[in-house]
Symmetry: C2
Subunit: 402 residues, 2 copies
């Protein structure tokens, strides 16, 4: 700390904190906000008035509370009026949603895509068209305050360059800048790794709500992790941390597209399961679901395959538990199905292979947001600016529209 | 931020920041401090006077600068007058040092200990005796401002309980509290995991000076990691993160004391090397050094053993690089010798098995603090209070002595 923050800085910070409470928790009474923020009610009144003046929140009487006395007004996010566009580039699909302040999904579209390489221009055109379609359906007075994209690969966050997107065949593609130009909304499109964004979403509104030390494992073609430690997403030197799919768990294992052998994702992910089950389905969620269903019907090949894959997944999770001492590991994407069908195996490996003190309080859970975790994480990314400096961000956007 | 910090809080924070500059960088001119802290010279003058009044720093004329004009006074830590006691419990040794403010080692003693279980009371008595011996040699006016211990196992930092110390045979030993009582200095003894403290020391004054994303790998009997990400030590839910020695790299590998097979520490550490070399030496640093020397002399068994162990170490490092995207991995303890003798193998594994974007800027280095990294980290732990609230901490200690 160098010198005292100015009253303006304090006000800006308090506005941001108040808006984050309303965004995360939904309608909150002024009294509760005063208590949570440690401020008196008249300060809350003034802050709320500032946010209401630019259309970010509104105040209204709460429903019947059963308590005597004058009820405290409830501060509610202007979900219909203030929204972001969230986009998701997965191995199997492109998805888009319009998400209102407060986290409600107002509109959602999705298109399947065939596996394999996909020209960046085509992806950008498809995403832009989905975004425009949804923006066109919004009320005329509604304001888009951000665009965020979850991408299935390694992303340099500061400029949205995709460094490596093996499942889509991209290397060093200036994805964020191109999509910003194509959309032409006067908003910089923010791009993040899909597992990182899934972790944020699960921490914000999902299985790990409120936790500080959380690993979100996302299974698509490969396996990536979003790792939150001490409340912050782990980035590493360049922002590429979390490539847990390439932890080698089986030195003499299957070849991986990365050039190694026995990476976690080829032993324990979708590819490992399909190979273990000896199927010649095209890869994808449907193939995983078919194997899980076959095992449930008693098919012994499918059962053995899930047993084997659960064992490898257990090694991977045990390694992560030893390294991170997380309070929760969340399984998302196709790992949700794989974990549900092999949980006993995964849990017993963790019990054997992780040390007592690091595992004694860890919980293993499936994603509470299901297939939408990464998309909802992209929405949270898109809300960053407005949640950091609410009034200035709205003013900037209004000026650009005028 | 709730409300503006009070002038007292700002002063306390500025005193702490100034003292940390002097502690980390040594003698600094007032002009430089003013520049680094973004404060004017008269504020620096007042802060320095406060610290000097309680005996934490002194001001003096710098040496010949060659510049014309009146030289800016240099602020110097009172290293002889203000010190901490640092202790280190390793698998092979007990070590102790008296370390002055500014990081200078004023006194150091060490005793070898045989491998294996060691009664907590005996360890506490031995450490207390080493500490008292060194305190007795300090000048009468010198003040001990903290005691820190690096321990070779899992430690619950808030109360200094050793949860698991496999190499010394401890489970749930109230080590910190017992040592506090035994020393009876009116100071709480702080205990930390040795690899965590080694990481702090290497970041503060060693190979990773100033880095934000650093992994320090400490080899003793086992392998532990201190992981600093985004400038902060990774703790996890209970503070036990960093048990990378128990990452399984070889499913069908050697049995590990933890109950698993093929943990990194049994394949790539001291135990792995001694087994691979087919030697029946008692384990320990001397055995590792003997194998390294034999390999240097051309002994092919020793060379093969180092090659094999370097390969496993490379798998472990590649996994960590994929998971963390660190800017540096530092090899300390006996891993320093093992890495130096097998660096080519380790590096080639990392090149093959870590993804390009995560490894392109990673540096692999040996500990700059050598065998003292963990002991010096314990000193940094012991300085925590005085570096957080310098004047109050000194006042509290002076009152206790009076």
């Amino acid at each position: 700390m160098r010198a005292a923050p100015s009253p303006d800085e304090i006000r800006k910070s308090n506005l941001a904190v108040l808006l984050r409470h309303v965004h995360r928790d939904g309608p909150v009474s002024r009294a509760t906000l005063a208590e949570r923020m440690g401020l008196n009610r008249s300060t809350i009144l003034a802050l709320t008035a500032d946010l209401a003046a630019v259309g970010l929140v509104r105040e209204e009487l709460p429903g019947q509370t059963g308590k005597a006395g004058r009820p405290s007004l409830v501060v509610r996010p202007e979900s219909e009026r203030v929204y972001v566009v969230a986009l998701d580039v997965g191995a199997d699909r492109l998805a888009a949603a319009r998400v209102g302040l407060g986290g409600s999904v107002l509109d959602q579209v999705e298109t399947a895509r065939p596996r394999g390489a996909f020209d960046p221009d085509d992806v950008i055109a498809a995403l832009a068209s989905m975004a425009r379609e949804m923006i066109g359906r919004a009320a005329p007075e509604a304001v888009c305050v951000g665009v965020g994209v979850a991408f299935c690969g390694m992303v340099r966050e500061e400029d949205g360059v995709v460094r490596y997107g093996p499942n889509i065949g991209w290397v060093d593609v200036p994805f964020g800048a191109s999509l910003t130009r194509e959309l032409d909304l006067g908003l910089r499109v923010a791009v993040g790794n899909n597992a990182n964004l899934g972790a944020l979403a699960e921490r914000e509104r999902g299985a790990g709500a409120g936790l500080s030390d959380l690993i979100y494992l996302h299974g698509d073609v490969g396996i990536g992790a979003g790792i939150i430690m001490g409340g912050r997403l782990l980035g590493g030197e360049g922002g590429y941390a979390g490539e847990v799919g390439h932890m080698i768990v089986n030195r003499n294992g299957r070849p991986c597209a990365c050039g190694s052998h026995g990476c976690l994702e080829v032993e324990a992910g979708e590819l490992g399961l399909i190979a273990a089950a000896g199927r010649d389905d095209p890869a994808g969620r449907a193939a995983v679901e078919a194997i899980v269903e076959a095992a449930a019907r008693g098919d012994s090949t499918a059962r053995d395959a899930l047993h084997q894959v659960g064992d490898w997944l257990g090694y991977g999770v045990a390694n992560l538990v030893n390294v991170f001492n997380p309070s929760m590991v969340v399984f998302g994407g196709v790992l949700r199905e794989i974990y549900l069908a092999s949980a006993a195996q995964v849990r017993s490996r963790v019990a054997v292979d992780a040390l007592l003190a690091v595992r004694e309080r860890v919980r293993l859970r499936t994603s509470a947001l299901g297939g939408d975790a990464t998309l909802l994480g992209a929405a949270e990314l898109a809300f960053t600016d407005v949640l950091t400096d609410p009034v200035q961000t709205l003013a900037r956007i209004s000026a650009a529209r005028a």
